[in-house]
Symmetry: D2
């Protein structure tokens, strides 16, 4: 009885996040049915299909898109394939969930959003952190007026270890690879648009990152239209673990989200009291948020409501990333209007 109402899903890409989506689809999302996995490594996709009882596998995403049982696709492949696949999927009438960033090219993003619009399909971007219980609580504290008018926001976002240098080289740089999540978080929490970005940064963690033309340490100042001033600080390596904190200060109070810890145990000895570290990295830290974002995606299909993270939400942080890059190079605050035509 319930089978017919399940949404048929295909996934393209089986990296870390792709695998997590597959696991969630197979185990925790009864409203969806994972029908096909598309990936580059045949052994990998076979093994995943068997483990999670997925009937079809392919290394050709067009085969997946041709499947009439599939109503929705998850695009978790390499960034430089997002646009091509998303566009083809939309043209094929499939709802699209696309990992961030949509593209590193604003023209291609605009083209994609136009195609999606014309196709009338849902298009959600994978900004998973919006679905974290803590950050949702922060958003609520702002939206409800609990903290009054927001004045100052601080986002701390530090990775436990830098990615492989080969990844760094094709990542689009720290602002489009790492800070992009924080840019999205900033817009989401404040519920308003950023007008200007100032970025300071340097190479402090690994000289190879500098040789690759990137930086590994950054402090970004954002000015919002409504007067809020925000800072984001990023590092590619926090030895104490994945540091994900937010604090928003307003006229009536402050809301702050601290780090989750792996347990609540403390040890008190002659050196003082020691508490646990945060979960290792994004898969561990944001697992429930990754699940919630998919649930929200399928809910917007079922209820035909707008997705909670829109195409425009996917575009704006890319603009902010380019503005940050320009700011860093020219050492001056850069208006977003300088970036977008």
């Amino acid at each position: 009885m319930s089978k017919p109402s399940k949404i048929g899903v295909g996934i393209i890409g089986t990296g870390r996040i792709g695998k997590l989506h597959i696991e969630h689809l197979a185990q925790n999302i009864p409203e969806a049915e994972l029908i096909a996995i598309c990936g580059l490594d045949p052994a990998d996709i076979e093994s995943l299909a068997e483990q999670f009882n997925v009937p079809k596998t392919t290394n050709d995403y067009t085969v997946l898109l041709a499947d009439p049982q599939i109503e929705a696709v998850l695009v978790a492949s390499a960034t430089d394939t997002h646009v091509e696949i998303s566009q083809a999927a939309a043209r094929a009438g499939k709802h699209v969930f696309c990992e961030k960033p949509i593209s590193l090219d604003l023209g291609q993003i605009d083209e994609t959003l136009a195609i999606v619009e014309k196709a009338g399909v849902k298009f959600q971007v994978g900004f998973n952190r919006r679905f974290d219980a803590g950050f949702m609580r922060i958003r609520e504290g702002i939206a409800s007026g609990e903290i009054g008018e927001p004045h100052i926001m601080r986002i701390t976002s530090r990775d436990p270890a830098p990615p492989p240098i080969e990844y760094v080289k094709v990542s689009g740089g720290i602002f489009l690879d790492m800070t992009i999540h924080d840019f999205d978080m900033a817009r989401y929490l404040i519920g308003d648009e950023v007008v200007e970005v100032y970025a300071a940064g340097g190479v402090r963690v690994d000289p190879q990152i500098g040789e690759a033309g990137d930086i590994d340490t950054a402090v970004i100042t954002l000015r919002f239209r409504n007067g809020v001033i925000a800072t984001i600080d990023n590092s590619r390596e926090a030895v104490y673990g994945y540091d994900q904190r937010v604090e928003v200060f307003g006229s009536k109070g402050m809301v702050a989200a601290g780090n989750l810890l792996t347990d609540t145990v403390t040890f008190s000895g002659s050196e003082g009291t020691r508490a646990a570290s945060p979960p290792y990295f994004f898969v561990e830290r944001y697992r429930p948020a990754y699940l919630s974002e998919l649930r929200a995606f399928f809910a917007c299909i079922q209820k035909d409501t707008p997705p909670p993270v829109t195409g425009e939400d996917g575009r704006a942080p890319v603009v902010m990333g380019f503005a940050a890059l320009k700011s860093l190079r020219e050492n001056r605050p850069v208006l977003l209007s300088e970036i977008q035509p």
Copy 2:
């Protein structure tokens, strides 16, 4: 390929914990295959079977036990059926996972353990809290010598709200229904046996509980063979939520497990800083522990190792419960040797 190695499982009982086990079996334990659900309410078991793709349902546990595909059974039915079902299951050669308490009758427990022993099957008791990450860390802090010789332990265990009065009447009383988890935790953490119990208590939450012959507030002192002195404090109603803390103090330091909270967000306003509450109750608080205990059960079957919570571990807290009851009634410390023949 992997299918043949899955352990066929049947579950008896579909209350809150039964349902949680079914969900975990269906979604998160690839090493097991849930073949049959046995329950009293036909609509309930049909609905669960459909939701989780379970092939068989029955309201007769002997049918389930007769199924040759089923190698292991989970006994999550009413307490007064645990013994009969566990014994029948063992005699049928099934491995048994039995919810706590095995029985409120020590003779029946001994009989059951003897039958299990003779049948050569695994028998694990559902003391889920042992599998909580925080309490495992506490155990490690003691077992590893991190805190030196343990001297004093404090366990706080308070429910968010009392159970229905009808449940209270058949529960065996607070010590065998609620404190039993803490008695088990005490033995597990210290890794030694309790020799004497002193219980103080009263009716502070609800007079109906008193009318039912039970108490709702208790403070128990335990003396261990190795000299550790422990206190357990229980309440049937903590308005701030399910309070589950442990602290162990020793010659070289102290380990303490605080409450988990629903999120890490604080709000600071003119009234001070406010943090979140604990998750509502045991299903929310100990979900990962409930999953881990099942995984450990299947692992001990697959590797043919002793279960991590044995029949003796199931028996000892019942003895402690009787000792606490006797102590409360006679207002004096009671040796466990007074209870067990």
Copy 3:
């Protein structure tokens, strides 16, 4: 102008607490004027007198009591002299602030309180912890009904290191030397009387303490007239420092006082996050409380109001200490009515 209204004070005893009182009198209590110091070591009292500008010194407390300028005396000498000096002071018409315990002999306490009563002087006992900001806040949470009806209280009170064995031998034992503060705290916070005491304990820290006939580790259960059940746990040696915590649980919530720390700094590294330790011991931890108790003493003289810690408050914890000792020896709960005639 303001000089005439100052209360002339003499102090007897220049141990650690005596010295602290002298410092506070000289620097922080403008309403009092320290006129004389009485002590056994001539060099010590001379040096204190010079440092703090105190005009008179003596090794004979009767000389001090004969001084008409002195209206109030602080008795901070050895415990076995408290009764004699307090009685003489009261007879001389001086207000008396006496360190705890008044005496280890209930008959002598009663005699002293009767003499004080007859003399019509103020008599305050040095239970300094009542004046700690945190514990006052706990008291307020109970007295105001913020936590509803109190049900359970837990007091943790652990010293950083045991006293010299010579001191242990004359201390009256852990219950009258150390737990006495916790007995007082229990009565103060709950605002009601204890009716029964059960004590468990042992020698875990230092065998010499056992050889001296004392214990160094104790867990005490108290039953109050109003139904509250409290536990106190004591150790003579907490390697992580002076551990002074209280938690009171009631029908509408819980108030808990954690440890003060020497600073609010944390270090996060690959081993987790490390916080500071508590201040070393009572002089560091309770310095502001020691000052407040003296201010309260002089205020009750100036306003002719009852002292905030009365003679009866000094007597009751001694009774509780004897009950605890009897309980430990006989391994049974002991009613306070068994101790006091």
Copy 4:
């Protein structure tokens, strides 16, 4: 005997900080003797002199400087008098402790430092926060290499309520009045010089502050010579109280100083757990630091060592304040070299 070695002190100015210094001198600094108070309000200085036993009062600072018993002066008068008095004091051969800022005019600061240099007297600036136990611990974590190479610093510094608008008008603006403490803290903690400042800010708290030509909310980015990037965020009104936190992140870890709270008590109820607020404002929060800075001043006189906060330390934050102001006005990062000739 000890009298001759005391340092004779005169204080000029009896505002909030002046009064605090007087109290500390009278009660807690035996190595100094407060000989004269100079202030504008005769009743006020008489009352202080009587309360703290100070022999001389005057409303003419030159009289005070002419007193041969006075070796050191504390300049706690209005900012626009600091230079004149400090210069006169130095010329009179007195050691000078001068409240911040020395002046809002860099030329006058340089002139003053030159005069001090020539006079060979000690000159210490009142950056009291350097003497806070928590911030000293942070400094130690950096200086000792505990956190490795510092990369990112965050300073949060928010007042509980804005000053009177009349004060705002003459304060020199938020950067020179309020942020100046944070500029000093930044230099002190990192132990290196700032080369560039970028300031964003606005009027969010009170429009009157804007009408007075000032701002009340600011976020400042600092770049240090050694590559550290720091942010300071300021608000004139945090409803939850005086917010004084610092966090320094480096290659081997992070040190963070949280807010002190008025007590360690929490209340847990159905709304979650509530903790206390910080002490109200600087006098309450930094009282021990105000005492320590004076002790350090007298110690440098007695030992003839350099003061812990030098004239150059007093000058640098003023330069940073001007750079911040220029940055705010021109909306671009400003090099300190643009400010100082």
